[in-house]
């Protein structure tokens, strides 16, 4: 509850008109960003705990079987907006869980920053998902202070995310590079 309360208090501060409009002083803007960052980190513990319980199966079935041995991290990547994520860049096998906060089911094209271009994505039913790899634009790679090995974005369609529910995908680097085409730009056209 202390984790949630820190975020509640931060969100309270964020209601100030300077936070809404961006008319705060620079040092205050940095403090707002820091509080939000700490709030997200704190609440990630709650998310991890809840999702590990949910992914362990229905509550009524728990009594009859042992708890899952593996505990998932369920980390948020706050740098996805600059195509950077430590887990997807540095690990050969990872899972992506998508939680849909809307009250209707949705489908979404997901973009995952990766350092290579040969990956296989499997959905929760065991089906292989169609993927495409596109390069991260050079201008993004060159952003000052961006420390990332992600040169590509792995794109796939996450279909039918249930309302206020989640779906997970298993993403694994493939050894067979022949099945994957490195993205090629078409020739530049000039008048």
């Amino acid at each position: 509850d202390a984790h949630l309360s820190f975020m509640r208090e931060t969100m309270g501060i964020m209601q100030h008109h300077d936070a809404i409009t961006g008319t705060e002083k620079q040092k205050v803007a940095l403090d707002y960003a820091k509080r939000l960052s700490v709030g997200f980190d704190a609440c990630s513990t709650n998310i991890k705990s809840v999702l590990n319980q949910l992914s362990d199966g229905p509550v009524e079935a728990k009594a009859t079987r042992p708890r899952a041995a593996f505990e998932f991290e369920f980390k948020t990547c706050s740098l996805l907006n600059i195509s950077s994520c430590e887990i997807s860049e540095k690990t050969d096998k990872f899972t992506l869980t998508l939680y849909n906060p809307l009250a209707h089911s949705t489908s979404e094209y997901v973009r995952v920053p990766v350092s290579d271009y040969n990956y296989v994505v499997t959905d929760n039913n065991g089906a292989t998902v169609i993927t495409q790899v596109v390069p991260v634009p050079t201008e993004v790679i060159d952003i000052f202070h961006r420390e990332s090995s992600a040169k590509y974005e792995l794109v796939f369609l996450a279909s039918n995310l249930p309302p206020v529910g989640y779906r997970s995908y298993f993403i694994e680097k493939s050894e067979n590079r022949n099945n994957f085409a490195k993205p090629q730009a078409q020739p530049k056209k000039r008048s």
């Binding site: 887990i87 997807s88 899972t95 809307l102 094209y109 495409q132 634009p137 730009a185 530049k188 056209k189």
Partner: protein, 287 residues
């Protein structure tokens, strides 16, 4: 020699200079261009109320002067089974990816702006502008904090006779989710991913302010210029606009406005993405 990306719902054409020129959607083919420009921020005497600098609180371009950032755009095109993309480079500090996903009925513009150069000691307020041949007659629509759309008319207020002293700033409105315009036939709407200022200063044109860097305080209280040099060269902003083009009237039971509303929800309340290292597991063990 034109470049075309798209799907069965929407198709975008780029000319030989790399600019968007045409959009085909909903059975319509419309001339629609997109470019980046900037206003130069006014530098005033803050002691005089009517002569203040552009700053954190107020947008106030210097003599409404607007500068295009590029006449030629370098492009690279990537096409695959899921998405078709055009990577555009306008100059050293503005670039953009325009993409259409396989099943989408809109185009996505992912812009990257900054750090805004200030070597010339001029504050700059950067906009993206979509120009179309839609005859909007000075009427456009902006949202009210994501809820109903409000009708706006250029140089007009509904409840009093207004004389607009500043032609650009006086017609800017807050855009929290959407700005749109239409005529009897066609409609164009842009969804934003964050609150921005926006307007329609010419018939058929929509503009949104994406980034700004100013060198003077506007004397409304913050006591600092909006210069954001904390990390060295100034801030870089990256964001997305979704462009919808189609019929202004409902056809076959589905209106473009209804589709916009759904995408608006999905844009502003996207799925949470949670990553886990799964190195010790096989896909079967994970399942």
């Amino acid at each position: 020699s034109l470049t075309v990306i798209g799907n069965e719902h929407i198709e975008l054409t780029f000319d030989t200079n790399g600019f968007l020129t045409e959009v085909t959607a909903d059975g319509l083919n419309r001339l629609i261009s997109q470019e980046f420009l900037y206003y130069e921020g006014a530098v005033g005497n803050n002691a005089e109320f009517l002569n203040r600098s552009s700053g954190a609180y107020i947008f106030r371009p210097n003599e409404d002067k607007i500068v295009p950032v590029a006449t030629q755009v370098t492009i690279e095109v990537y096409k695959g089974d899921l998405v078709e993309e055009v990577h555009q480079k306008f100059n050293d500090w503005i670039s953009q990816v325009v993409r259409v996903y396989h099943k989408s009925n809109y185009a996505e513009f992912e812009w990257l702006v900054g750090p805004i150069p200030i070597d010339d000691e001029i504050g700059k307020e950067v906009i993206t502008r979509f120009k179309s041949d839609i005859e909007s007659n000075g009427i456009f629509y902006t949202d009210s904090n994501g809820r109903e759309m409000l009708k706006r008319k250029l140089n007009h207020r509904d409840t009093w006779d207004v004389k607009i002293a500043e032609a650009v700033a006086g017609n800017y409105y807050p855009i929290t989710t959407k700005i749109a315009l239409e005529d009897e036939t066609a409609r164009m709407a842009i969804l934003v991913d964050r609150a921005q200022g926006g307007s329609s200063l010419q018939d058929g044109a929509l503009e949104l302010m994406v980034h700004r860097r100013l060198l003077k305080d506007d004397a409304f209280g913050v006591g600092e210029a909006l210069n954001e040099t904390e990390y060295g060269d100034g801030l870089v902003a990256r964001g997305k606009h979704h462009l919808f083009v189609g019929l202004s009237k409902q056809r076959e039971g589905v209106s473009l406005k209804a589709l916009e509303r759904l995408v608006q929800l999905e844009t502003l309340l996207p799925s949470w993405k949670l990553f886990s290292n799964a190195e010790p597991l096989s896909v079967d063990e994970w399942r």
